[in-house]
Symmetry: C2
Subunit: 571 residues, 2 copies
C-alpha cells in the first residue's frame, strides 16, 4: 500500500481473523489485542500484537500507542479508555458510538430520538419483580426481558411468556441492568450491513437471517419471498439508523419484518457482523474489506457492494459431541459451491461459533438445493426435525423450476407434451400450472407477480382462441414470456398467434409457431442458455444431434435413390 498505517483491533476472534484476511491482501499490518494464539493472531505473524484482554485499560492504551487507527471486533469494550486515547489515535467508529450501542436500551432511545422505528421499550434498571409484572400488564405477554449490556447470542435475553415466568426471569437476569421490549410479531428477520465512510453511507444487499436458540443459524441473500420494495426499504431504514451515529466503519443492522410489512430495528452492531459473512464470496468487496477501507479512508466504489450470485451462509456451531462441527465441515467439503471457513478456535462448546459455510450459486433455489442436505444433517446432529422452509409457496417443495409452463386449460396439455419431454431430455427443471386469463384472472395475477421471486426465469404460456394468457402474464412480470398459440376449433390457431404477436408496445410476448411446443421450450432453453453455459452446452449437443440426423438422412437418400427411400418411408 501507499501508506504504512497500522490498524489496532480490540478483540481477536473470528471477526478480527476475517478482518486480517482482508488486511493481509493489502499488506496492512493489524495489531490485535487479545489472548495469545487467538483466531486473528494465528494468521498474522508480526511482533505488533498485544497480549491481554480487550477490556483491560492498560492494554488498550498500549494498543493505541502502537497503532494509527484503532477499531473493534466487539462492542463490549472499555469505551472510557478509548475516549482517553482518542486524542492520540483515531478511533473508528467513535467511542461515543460504541458507548451508545453497547447499552442496548440507550441505543434504542437514541434511535427513537432520531426518528428510527424500534420496538417499544421500558427501563427496568434497579427495579424488582413487581415492575416486571407491570410490564406484562402494559405490553401483554410474551415480552422480551433483556440485559442492557453484555448481551449477545441469546445470553442476557429472556422471553417472558406469562406472569408465571416472571420469577424465573428475574432469577435469571435480575442482577443485570434490565429493560423490557414489546414482543415483535414478525414474519421474518432481515439484516443489512451498512458502510459509513468519510463521504457517506453505503449498504450491502438485504439478507434474511434465521435464528435458532437465539443464535444466527442461516442467512439468505436475497431474502426468500420478499419483494424488492421491502428489501430496499430495509436498506433505507438501515442507512437512516447508521446515519445517526458518529464514526466510520461497517455496522450490522438487524431488523424485524412484521406481518404487515412494517420494519422495526432490532439491534445494531458497530462492527462486522455474522449476517455479513456471505459478502466474502458473494460480493466483490467483503464487509471486512469495506470496514478496513472505511476506517482508513480508502475508496469504496458503491457497486463493489453488489451481489455477484445469490448466497446462503450456514454457521458451524459447536454441538453435543466434541467433533460435531468437524463432521459438519467434512460434509461441506463434498459440496461443489461451498466455501468453508474454520476459525481456529480450540474446543467446541455447544453453540460456540466454530466456523461457517457460504454457498453461492446462479439462483437462490440452486443454493438451497445444495445446502439443504447439510442443514438436515445439522438438525439431525441436534436431534431436531429439519426446520428450513421451502423456497417458495408457488413452487412444489421438491422442485426448483427454471421454466414455468402455464396453460389456459388441460386441453392444451397434449400439444405441450413434446415440449415437456424435451425439457426432461435436456434436464431443465420446470413446473406446469393451469391458469386461465378469463376463468382464474386472480390466480394468474398472483402467479405472474410472484414468479420473479422464485427460481423461475422464463415463463411459457400456451393458449388457444383469444389467448390472453401470455399477454396478461407479461403485463404482471418482467420475466421473459414465450407465447405458444394453440390451434382451436376455428381459425386454425391464427387467432391465438395474432393475439400473442400483436401485443401493444410495452409488454412483448415471444411468440412461436402454432402448436409448436418444441420451439416454445427451445426458446426458453436459449434464454436460460444466454447466461448459463452448462445449459447452452446441453442445447448445443441436442442441436448437433439434429444436424447429424439430417446429414445421415441426406447420405441415405444419396445412396438409395429417391424411390427406395420413399419405399423405406412406407410411401
Amino acid at each position: 500500500m501507499a501508506d504504512s498505517r497500522k490498524v489496532g483491533v480490540l478483540g481477536g476472534g473470528q471477526l478480527g481473523r476475517m478482518l486480517i484476511e482482508a488486511a493481509n491482501r493489502l499488506n496492512i499490518q493489524v495489531n490485535v489485542l487479545d489472548v495469545a494464539a487467538s483466531p486473528a493472531k494465528q494468521i498474522s505473524a508480526h511482533d505488533g500484537h498485544i497480549q491481554g484482554s480487550f477490556k483491560d485499560a492498560a492494554s488498550v492504551k498500549k494498543l493505541a500507542q502502537s497503532s494509527d487507527v484503532v477499531t473493534v471486533e466487539i462492542e463490549h469494550v472499555d469505551t472510557h479508555m478509548l475516549e482517553e486515547v482518542a486524542d492520540q489515535v483515531t478511533v473508528e467508529p467513535s467511542w461515543k458510538t460504541l458507548r451508545m450501542i453497547k447499552d442496548k436500551y440507550a441505543q434504542k432511545l437514541y434511535l427513537k430520538e432520531h426518528g428510527v422505528d424500534v420496538a417499544e421499550s421500558l427501563d427496568l434498571e434497579g427495579k424488582g419483580v413487581q415492575a416486571l409484572k407491570e410490564v406484562g400488564s402494559s405490553f401483554g405477554y410474551p415480552y422480551m426481558l433483556k440485559s442492557k449490556t453484555e448481551a449477545y447470542d441469546g445470553k442476557g435475553n429472556y422471553v417472558v411468556k406469562s406472569e408465571n415466568d416472571v420469577d424465573a426471569a428475574f432469577e435469571a437476569l435480575g442482577k443485570r441492568p434490565l429493560y423490557a421490549e414489546r414482543w415483535a410479531d414478525f414474519r421474518m428477520e432481515l439484516a443489512v450491513m451498512v458502510v459509513k465512510t468519510k463521504d457517506g453511507v453505503l449498504t450491502f444487499p438485504t439478507v434474511e437471517t434465521v435464528h435458532e436458540d437465539s443464535i444466527c443459524k442461516l442467512t439468505y441473500a436475497p431474502p426468500r419471498n420478499v419483494s424488492r420494495a421491502i428489501t430496499e426499504k430495509a436498506q433505507d431504514l438501515a442507512k437512516k439508523a447508521i446515519g445517526a451515529f458518529e464514526g466510520k466503519g461497517v455496522f450490522g443492522v438487524e431488523m424485524f419484518l412484521l406481518k404487515d410489512d412494517k420494519l422495526l430495528i432490532n439491534e445494531i452492531a458497530p462492527r462486522p457482523h455474522n449476517s455479513g459473512h456471505y459478502t466474502i464470496e458473494a460480493c466483490p468487496l467483503s464487509q471486512y474489506d469495506a470496514h478496513l477501507r472505511a476506517i482508513l479512508d480508502i475508496p469504496i466504489p458503491a457497486s463493489a457492494l453488489r451481489l455477484r450470485e445469490p448466497s446462503i451462509m450456514l454457521n458451524i456451531l459447536g454441538g453435543q459431541s466434541p467433533d460435531s462441527h468437524i463432521q459438519i465441515a467434512n460434509r461441506a467439503l463434498t459440496l461443489p459451491n461451498a466455501s468453508i471457513h474454520l476459525y481456529g478456535k480450540g474446543d467446541a462448546r455447544p453453540g460456540r461459533k466454530m466456523g461457517h459455510i457460504t454457498i453461492t450459486a446462479p439462483t437462490l433455489a440452486e443454493a438451497e438445493a445444495e445446502i439443504q442436505p447439510l442443514v438436515a444433517f445439522v438438525d439431525e446432529l441436534k436431534g431436531k426435525p429439519n426446520s428450513t422452509a421451502s423456497a417458495s409457496q408457488i413452487q412444489a417443495a421438491t422442485e426448483d423450476p427454471l421454466v414455468a409452463i402455464i396453460m389456459g386449460s388441460d386441453s392444451d396439455l397434449p400439444v405441450l407434451k413434446a415440449g415437456l419431454e424435451l425439457l426432461q431430455t435436456l434436464g431443465i427443471p420446470f413446473t406446469t400450472r393451469i391458469t386461465s386469463a378469463h376463468r382464474t384472472p386472480d390466480w394468474l395475477r398472483e402467479f405472474s407477480k410472484a414468479a420473479e421471486s422464485t427460481s423461475v426465469r422464463v415463463i411459457v404460456g400456451a393458449a388457444g382462441g383469444a389467448a390472453h394468457l401470455p399477454g396478461m402474464c407479461a403485463s404482471w412480470t418482467t420475466l421473459p414470456v414465450v407465447g405458444l398459440p394453440i390451434k382451436a376449433t376455428h381459425l386454425d390457431g391464427v387467432d391465438s398467434l395474432l393475439s400473442m404477436t400483436q401485443m401493444p408496445r410495452g409488454e412483448p410476448v415471444a411468440t412461436v409457431g402454432i402448436n409448436n411446443s418444441t420451439n416454445a421450450v427451445l426458446l426458453a432453453v436459449r434464454i436460460l442458455g444466454a447466461t448459463d453455459l452448462d445449459i447452452r452446452n446441453r442445447l448445443r449437443a441436442w442441436m448437433e444431434g439434429n444436424e447429424k440426423e439430417v446429414l445421415r438422412k441426406d447420405q441415405k437418400l444419396l445412396e438409395q435413390g429417391f424411390q427406395a427411400y420413399l419405399k423405406g418411408m412406407g410411401k
Copy 2:
C-alpha cells in the same frame, strides 16, 4: 478439520502464501521452508516453520520430519533429498515428477514419448557456437535457445533471431545446460490448471495468457475469440499431459494455439501457477484449495472448478520507480470488481511479481472495460503504447454490446428507430449490423456463429417479405433470437410474421408484432433481465412509468369527461 496432518512446503513466496490462505480457512497447519518473514510465513503464526533455503538438503530433511505431506511451490528444489525422505513422508507430487519437470528438455522428451504434442527440440548440452548455427540451419530463424534448468519468467531463454544473434546468445547462456526449440508460430497462448487426485484428473477452465517481456502480464478466462471446441481440446491435451506424470496436486500447463488451431504444449509447472490466480475469485474452489485437497485426499467435486463469472487477472510487477507497483494497486482500489492481492514482498525490482489484481464480471466484455484503463496506466508507467487487443473483431472497439440488432436492409432502420432509442433510454449497450440472408449469406453465417463468443447475449433480427434473416441466424447460434416482422409493400407484414413464427421444430424465433420494434427490444431486455437484476430494475422502472402514464390519463378522462378529453387530443 477431522485430521491434524501438517503440510510442509518448499518455498514461501506468493504461491506458498496463497496456499496458506486456503489452508488457514481449513485450520490446516502449513510448515514453510524459506527465509524468515517470507511472504507465506507472514500470514501463518506458528513455530513449525523452518528457516533456510528450499535448495538446502538438511533443511528439507528437517521439514520432512515435522510434516505429514511435503509439497512445493517451486520446482527448482533438491529432488535427491526429496527422494531420500520419500520413505518417511509423503511427497506430492512425486520427486520423480519434480525431477523430470525441472529439466525442461527431459520434460519435453517425456511428453513426446507419451504421445503429447510439444515443440520440436534439440539437445545442445555441452555443445558450442557451431551447434547453435546448425540448429538455425535445421529449424530456421527465429528459434528459442533455452536453459534446461532454473529458467523462469524469461530468465534462461534467448530468442535467436538470425545467425548474427548466435554469438550473443551463447555469450548469455553458454554456461548453462542448453537445448533449442523450434519457433512456434502461435496466434495465442493458452493455459489450463490441472488437478491430479487419487481418483483421477480434473481441469479448471482454459485461460488465455498474455506475456510481455517473457513474463505473464494478463490472463483471460475464458480466452478471447476462441471457440469452445478449442478450449475443450486444450483441457483434454492438458489432462493427457498431466496424466503421464506420477503424484497428486495441481499442475499448470502452458500451451501455444497455432495459427492452424493446432495446440502444442509449451511448459508444465508441477504446482500452483500464475495462470491460475484468477480461480481465487472466479471459481468456487481455487487452485490453492484444489492443491491442498488433492495432496491430502480431501474430496474435490468436479463442478467446484466451474467459472462463476468471466475474469481477467493482471500481474502487478515492480517497475522503473520503487513505488510503481503501489501506484497500480492504488488505482485498482477504485475499480468496483477488482480483488487486489499484494504479496508482502520487500523492495520492488523491475519485473518482480509484487501482487496481482483479479476482476470478475458478468461478461468478459464488462471485465475488459473495467480493467482497460488500468492496463493503459501500467503501459504508461512502462513507457509503452497500450497493448491490449479489442475484445472481438465482430464488435466495434469501443462497445461491449449485450444486444445485436441485425436487419436485412437499411430500409428497416426507420422501423427500428423507436426500439433503438428505448435501448439507449434503458442504458443497454447494443450494436446494429446490416446482413441479408439472401444477399450476404456468408456474412450472416459468420456473424451468427461468432456472436456467442462476444459480449452479445440476445440477437434481434428485423426483416420484411420472406424474412429468412432471424430464422437462419437462429440456425447458426444457440443464443436467443427475437424476430421483428417488417411490413413490406405487399401482404401487410403477415408474410414476415408467419415466416418467423412458423420456424420448424428445433430453431425457434421469438416473434413479436409487425413493425413493433419497441416490443422486440423489450423482449431482449427481459431476456437480459432474467439473470441481470440491474437490468431488470431498469425495466421495472420503465414499466412503472408507463403504468403511471395510463393512470394519469384515466384520471384526466374522469375529471374532464370524454368531450373535453377528445378536444385536448385535437379530435
